[in-house]
């Protein structure tokens, strides 16, 4: 199973983004600056936008979905339980997963934004997908839930998971790093080899690299382990 971007070019007036590369099975982290085209690329891979040229090939991928940056875009159910049922899921279980036990009867838009994000992410992670595209899955979550969501993503991720984010403090362990810069998507490679060339790395990764060591992965715990290794 793999996703192939074949000389893809996405354009909008004067702006363009070129993307080529193979996304094999694993968790892929894609970073880039504001306006670099992360969400546009995510939508194109999900099939919501047609590339100006090139082709997106889905080899062995039959079920794919996109989680958009803003959870309110996904919300169709008036009540929390309606929203969960709209995904074909059982309200009680998902409410428990989302830390919303006993709140199935509440209106979806009465939830805080972070709670709505938890609800949406719990629904999407309960599905069965070959390719899951997550656009800013951690934004608006508090630090406790960022950690929980990272663990959930790592434990339940589909064969190919693309994680578009600029989160800097709490990240899941990933398999591959990609970065959008200068109008192109760059494959930095597998982790940990790719970490030193990651320009948008969180500050704690930069600090570890400045000590001359490369962490095994990109979480804060990996950075701590690398520091310990250096001092051992």
């Amino acid at each position: 199973m793999e996703l192939a971007l074949e000389e893809v070019i996405l354009t909008r007036k004067k702006w363009s983004l070129c993307a080529r590369g193979i996304f094999s099975e694993g968790i892929h982290l894609i970073t880039g600056r504001v306006g670099s085209g992360k969400s546009t690329l995510a939508q194109a891979i999900a099939g919501l936008l047609k590339p100006g040229s090139g082709n997106i090939a889905y080899h062995g991928i039959y079920r794919r979905t996109l989680s958009m940056q803003f959870p309110e875009y996904h919300t169709t159910g008036h009540l929390v339980r309606d929203e969960i049922r709209s995904w074909g899921l059982e309200p009680e279980r998902i409410c428990m997963e989302a830390g919303l036990t006993g709140r199935a009867h509440e209106r979806s838009f009465d939830l805080s934004r972070g709670e709505l994000k938890r609800l949406h992410m719990s629904c999407i992670l309960a599905g069965t997908w070959d390719l899951l595209i997550l656009d800013e899955p951690l934004s608006t979550l508090d630090p406790v839930w960022k950690h929980r969501m990272c663990r959930k993503i790592h434990a339940h991720h589909p064969p190919i998971t693309l994680l578009f984010t600029h989160e800097q403090a709490v990240l899941p362990r990933v398999d591959y790093l990609w970065e959008i810069r200068g109008g192109c998507l760059h494959a930095l490679g597998p982790v940990p080899e790719a970490i030193p060339s990651w320009q948008g790395a969180p500050r704690y990764i930069e600090e570890v690299l400045n000590y001359g060591v490369v962490p095994d992965n990109i979480t804060l715990e990996d950075a701590k382990e690398a520091l310990c290794r250096m001092h051992a």
Binding site: R12, K13, T31, G32, R33, V34, G35, S36, G37, K38, S39, T40, Q69, F70, E72, L111, S112, R113, G114, E115, K117, R118, E136, S139, T140, L141, D142, P143, V144, W145, K146, H147, H166, Q168, A169, V170, G200, P202, R203, Y204, E207, L220, A223, K224, L227, C228, M230, H231
Partner: protein, 230 residues
């Protein structure tokens, strides 16, 4: 000084809170009332009980710049130029003052290149920056930022944080889920279930949160680093 007395609204219940001028970050778990408190302080919502004064005036009699958590909800006009101009036109500023103020607001946040862009073609982060520029254009006494950094990459978020002290606003009130950002504020409010659990400087408050994920990542990293050096 912002003074809240006997404040009650939805889940918010704050008996007494006095916020000195400067940069104040509001932190806390999802659903703790951060956005609700900010909307009360901005005068968007009116308290069911109690009162809020900002240097003796009510929030609705104070110039407040508002950057909400849903940037799209703040964008009304087709182009960035008209979006930022609208904040000034609603205040009946003469036309000749508009262009310099629009340009300055965009320059302040390093986004001059967006001047002629169409709002619907902006990325999520760019929308947040345009809303910020519109808020800055009115030169508000109080600037309220509701999780603006959740839409921004590290470099852009750091740029925004760097310009905040140079603004002429008496109060910058910001909610954030990035504790490293909160660590740079003058004051912190930690909300829990609508109540102020902690209020004070980051140096006073974060030690109470050291065993939780709310402790700043970079503080934790620095502590490990210095411990290992010893």
């Amino acid at each position: 000084m912002i003074v809240c007395t006997g404040l009650a609204f939805r889940t918010i219940a704050i008996r007494d809170l006095s916020i000195p001028s400067g940069h104040t970050c509001v932190i806390g778990p999802n659903g703790s009332g951060k956005s609700t408190l900010l909307s009360l302080l901005a005068g968007i919502e009116m308290p069911e009980q109690g009162r809020i004064t900002i240097d003796g005036e009510t929030p609705r009699r104070t110039d407040v710049g508002w950057v909400g958590e849903f940037p799209e909800d703040n964008l009304i006009f087709r182009t960035v130029r008209n979006e930022i101009a609208s904040a000034l036109r609603f205040r009946h500023l003469p036309d000749e003052e508009l262009e310099p103020r629009i340009g300055q607001a965009l320059r302040d946040i390093g986004c001059e290149y967006l001047l002629d862009a169409r709002c619907k073609e902006l990325s999520g982060g760019e929308k947040a920056l345009v809303v910020l520029a519109a808020a800055l254009a009115i030169r508000p006494k109080v600037l309220v930022l509701d999780e603006i950094d959740s839409h921004l990459d590290r470099s852009t978020a750091e740029d925004v944080q760097q310009i905040l002290p140079s603004l002429s606003c008496m109060h910058v009130l910001q909610s954030t889920q990035n504790m490293d950002t909160a660590a740079g504020a003058d004051n912190l409010i930690y909300l829990e279930e609508g109540q102020v659990r902690y209020f004070g400087s980051p140096e006073d408050i974060f030690p109470n949160l050291e065993d939780t994920p709310f402790y700043p990542t970079l503080w934790r990293f620095a502590a490990w680093s210095s411990h290992l050096k010893r």
